[in-house]
């Protein structure tokens, strides 16, 4: 890929993916031609309504759900907020305790914090050095006041895949609802609401080749959950607001492509991932892999380089046309390194030197070659500048 002649290697697909051209094409008619409001009665509106329902069917089919269990939202963050706050509000009489993990996305952690301020209690389960939640810890954390267990399907920073089926089974044994943030999972690992035992499941279109601003919450039939957005009767009265018709159409097309291509795509990405990991660890001393060696998303590489800081690595990569991400505090205003890496037991000074490369549909073996060609030199240069680098 090039950007005005400049080489561009995009390796930040966990942040967002390019909307696939066939997805954008499917969306286009719904802006200016078939622009009707699905709630209206004339033919133009019916066209839009049909498109929304067709997309709902595609999303449902992709995750093993019934169409009436899929509710469109403005994205993964809204879906997570709705799941957590909606269950908390509707089950307040039953209990006031939520179990989640310490490595969830902020879209889960911050709603939990908000609920704590309202008097709910939240247990943030620790993870092992690879970022895995121990199902036994869920068992221990559940009390007779627990109303929800929320553990992500796969982590966005380190790519660790969680044993959600085992965790949901424990939750259900205690009559507790199970929610999973599956935002990083679609198209990367099989997502089936029954196999995972999910009562609620959040997804986001722009993580799998769809447009930004569109997501969905799967809600299993008969799940006790409050409304999150009050207003019109859209989404069968459970999520008000005029539907984002082009976005929903795009999401339907994108999830069909992503899940349909997964059998070919995931092994291809995993091979590139493994070549990157091996190549980096072999070429750069004092480097470790973050996350699980095998139970990880096919597209996720996350390594920590000692003695250097992540933002510096990103800027030097950017100067060479490579887009990546880091868990260093220096890219945020908080001055705290990644809560995920810290929860895995990484000391802050190592977490600062972390680099995340997440592969996608368009990446090629040449991209991998290019990263392996330039990255060791960048780390070497920054280590020359660093006072922490030991004399050799």
């Amino acid at each position: 890929m090039t950007d005005g002649g400049r080489r561009l290697v995009y390796l930040d697909h966990a942040a967002t993916t390019p909307t696939r051209p066939e997805v954008a094409r499917a969306m286009l008619p719904y802006f200016s031609e078939r622009f009707g409001n699905p709630s209206s009665l004339y033919a133009l509106a019916r066209e839009a309504k049909e498109a929304v329902e067709e997309a709902r069917g595609r999303v449902a089919a992709a995750i093993g759900a019934a169409p009436e269990e899929v509710f469109f939202t403005s994205g993964g963050t809204e879906a997570d907020n709705w799941a957590i706050k909606g269950v908390a509000a509707a089950n307040r009489k039953k209990g006031d305790h939520i179990v989640t993990s310490s490595i969830e996305h902020h879209a889960v952690l911050h709603p939990c914090r908000a609920l704590e301020k309202q008097g709910y209690r939240v247990t943030y389960l620790p993870v092992d050095e690879f970022g895995r939640v121990e199902p036994g810890a869920v068992e221990e954390a559940i009390t007779d006041k627990t109303i929800l267990v929320s553990v992500m399907a796969a982590n966005n920073e380190i790519g660790t895949v969680q044993p959600v089926a085992a965790i949901s089974e424990i939750a259900h044994d205690h009559g507790v609802l199970f929610h999973t943030d599956a935002v990083q999972a679609i198209g990367a690992i099989p997502v089936d609401v029954d196999a995972m035992g999910a009562d609620l499941l959040a997804i986001s279109a722009h993580k799998f080749g769809g447009p930004k601003g569109t997501g969905a919450l799967y809600i299993r039939r008969k799940t006790r959950i409050g409304t999150f957005m009050d207003g019109g009767a859209q989404e069968r009265g459970r999520r008000a607001g005029t539907e984002n018709v082009p976005g929903i159409v795009g999401m339907g097309r994108a999830i069909e492509l992503a899940v349909g291509e997964m059998p070919q795509n995931a092994p291809r990405l995993a091979a590139m991932r493994d070549r990157l990991i091996r190549g980096i660890l072999d070429a750069v001393p004092d480097t470790r892999l973050n996350g699980h060696p095998t139970e990880r998303l096919a597209n996720n590489v996350n390594v920590a380089f000692r003695y250097v800081e992540g933002e510096s690595i990103l800027l030097m990569l950017d100067a060479l046309g490579i887009a990546a991400s880091t868990g260093s505090a220096c890219t945020s205003a908080s001055l705290e390194p990644s809560h995920v890496l810290t929860a895995c037991g990484l000391p802050p000074e190592h977490a600062h030197g972390s680099l995340r490369l997440t592969l996608g549909h368009r990446n090629t073996e040449e991209d991998v070659d290019y990263v392996l060609e330039v990255l060791p030199g960048i780390i070497g240069r920054l280590r020359e500048i660093s006072p922490l680098t030991p004399e050799r």
Partner: protein
């Protein structure tokens, strides 16, 4: 997000390294926060004849130490002590608000290195380095 000056001093840092016969050394910051600067000075006749840095940190931290060492080279100690973090940030054509602490760290590093030099001079058995 960064000015051209910051990017230039980050990509082509001036005075990077360590003076072997330094007679003033200052190390500031801590790895938990993600910034450590080590400033080494060679001071002769109350004047900074050489200044070098090594920095662990973000682009702003590296650029701030590069610029700070540029600003104090050839200056007397009093002149160098008058170089503020604001002067470092201004010479870099500004820093993002959340990165201003990097220029503060550079000022502190210089002060600490000069303090170290003065302590060495004041010490009873000081022998000029």
């Amino acid at each position: 997000m960064y000015s051209e000056q910051v990017m230039d001093h980050f990509m082509n840092p001036r005075n990077m390294g360590e003076i072997p016969d330094a007679n003033g050394v200052g190390e500031v910051g801590n790895p938990t926060c993600g910034d450590i600067m080590r400033i080494t000075l060679r001071i002769e006749d109350d004047r900074i004849v050489d200044a070098k840095f090594k920095t662990f940190g973000c682009a702003a931290a590296i650029a701030s130490s590069s610029m700070a060492t540029e600003l104090i080279r050839g200056k007397t100690l009093d002149e160098a002590l008058a170089v503020t973090n604001r002067a470092v940030a201004e010479a870099l054509e500004g820093l993002p608000p959340q990165k201003l602490h990097c220029s503060v760290l550079a000022e502190e590093g210089i002060h600490k290195a000069i303090d170290d030099y003065r302590a060495r001079q004041g010490a009873p058995e000081a022998s000029g380095g």
